[in-house]
């Protein structure tokens, strides 16, 4: 990982957490739409599961520590988002990837709610089921916009991965 990618990742985590707390969450309340989760998905869909997992874990841990619930819950969920999205990336069809991001983020959000209900840290498990569909739709819409930005940035000279990720090679081989 280059120094520039590290700085970019930290800036992205901070920015997205601030936007989530001050804009997205208040505006879309009571829907638990998560901009950080969608960003993790977008990065994983663009850069592969390794980057997605690392970014998801780091962002989740910072988000966990910034709240009162046990640290590690969001880190685990967003790690899963990075992993699944990185593995399921299409990379050529924007709408397909946005839908993947929306579904995975919706499920991850419900999983986080269930996990928090399990450790008795606030929400009840029925919230997870009630919000699943609307949150998935909202996450998909968010992902449509965010994917375009993330793809453009991660394919720039400064933030491009030092080595092509394995999935790129596979895709390259498949598409000839």
């Amino acid at each position: 990982m280059t120094r520039l990618r590290l700085v970019g990742a930290m800036a992205a985590i901070l920015t997205v957490l601030l936007l989530q707390a001050t804009l997205v969450a208040p505006v879309l309340a009571p829907l638990a739409v998560s901009l950080p989760a969608v960003l993790v998905a977008a990065i994983a869909l663009t850069d592969g599961p390794s980057t997605g997992m690392s970014f998801g874990f780091a962002a989740g841990l910072v988000a966990d520590l910034g709240t009162s619930h046990p640290a590690g819950v969001l880190a685990l969920c967003w790690l899963g988002v990075g992993l699944v999205c990185g593995a399921a990336a299409d990379r050529h069809r924007l709408r397909h990837d946005a839908l993947t991001a929306g579904v995975v983020c919706g499920v991850a959000g419900s999983a986080a709610t269930l996990l928090l209900a399990l450790v008795n840290a606030g929400p009840v498990w029925t919230d997870a089921l009630r919000d699943l569909v609307p949150v998935t739709v909202a996450d998909t819409v968010l992902a449509l916009g965010l994917l375009v930005i993330v793809r453009r940035m991660l394919r720039s000279e400064a933030l491009r991965a030092p080595r092509p990720v394995l999935t790129d090679l596979v895709i390259g081989g498949r598409h000839g």
């Binding site: 901070l14 957490l17 001050t22 505006v27 590690g72 992993l83 593995a87 596979v170």
Partner: protein, 283 residues
């Protein structure tokens, strides 16, 4: 779905275990309390800064879904404001009426007359005269034709006709009517003819009478006028002497003929009154 490399699988497992450790540690005790406090403090400061920047946009966005609701709320508040303004106006009118009634009571006390308060309910020509008003009291309240009407400060007119619950009053300022008056300063008597909104035109009986600007005129003398004597009619504002020696004076009325509202009919002594309570001297 692509297959993960061995390294990616190991990384995923390691990070998952790490996350589980964090959860266990945080649930088990206060091991991460300091970390929570530090991150919360840092993010809290940043949240405030960001909110200052994005707050207006956020509030605008939050208001979009409830725009219709807000419109309904605005309409409701407008109706409420209109209702409260109406109540305020009513209270102001009540205070005005209270002051007028107090004035009438003082007039009753000062003149030993019994006054029946009445509200002007209609204006307009009637009975062949131009300047009449209709009051909301009539013969059931003791009102009879010919009785004098005052507003407590001065002469208003006299009752032309009394029905059971209303009466028509000819204003003293009617251009076709005249009032027998006395100049308070000189004692000269004469006739004040109605001049509409201008008030009266006073012509003393004596051609040699000395009338001065500022002289106050009252109705009277008693028995020689159709009005109760002693009521203020107006104040002389200009005096002109014609070539034949006739003196004429313009008189500003004590009561504006175009702004009468709450007035009182001066009842005859011993009149039977039903309904509205009259104002009696010394009460």
């Amino acid at each position: 779905m692509r297959k993960l490399t061995r390294r990616q699988r190991l990384s995923a497992i390691a990070l998952s275990v790490l996350a589980a450790c964090f959860i266990t540690l945080d649930l088990g005790g206060g091991s991460l309390r300091e970390a929570h406090t530090g991150v919360r403090g840092t993010l809290g400061g940043l949240y405030r800064g960001t909110d200052a920047l994005l707050g207006p946009a956020r509030r605008w966005l939050e208001g979009v879904p409830s725009a219709g609701t807000n419109q309904a709320r605005i309409e409701q508040l407008r109706r409420e404001v209109a209702r409260l303004n109406g109540e305020l106006a009513k209270q102001a009118a009540d205070r005005h009426t209270e002051a007028q009634l107090a004035g009438l009571q003082r007039a009753s006390d000062g003149s030993d007359h019994t006054l029946l308060p009445a509200r002007v309910i209609a204006l307009g020509p009637g009975q062949g005269f131009d300047w009449t008003v209709t009051l909301d009291v009539g013969s059931r309240g003791g009102v009879q034709a010919g009785q004098t009407v005052t507003d407590g400060a001065g002469l208003v007119g006299r009752v032309l006709q009394a029905d059971s619950d209303s009466s028509v009053v000819l204003l003293a300022a009617d251009p076709g009517s005249g009032v027998g008056v006395r100049d308070v300063r000189s004692g000269e008597i004469g006739v004040a003819s109605g001049a509409g909104p201008s008030g009266f035109l006073f012509v003393p009986l004596s051609p040699t009478a000395r009338i001065e600007v500022g002289d106050r005129l009252v109705s009277g003398p008693s028995g020689a006028s159709s009005y109760i004597a002693g009521l203020s009619v107006g104040t002389v504002t200009a005096v002109r002497t014609s070539a034949d020696g006739t003196v004429r004076a313009s008189v500003r009325p004590a009561t504006s003929p175009t702004a009468v509202d709450l007035v009182a009919v001066i009842l005859d002594p011993g009149a039977t009154v039903a309904g509205r309570a009259p104002l009696r001297p010394g009460r």
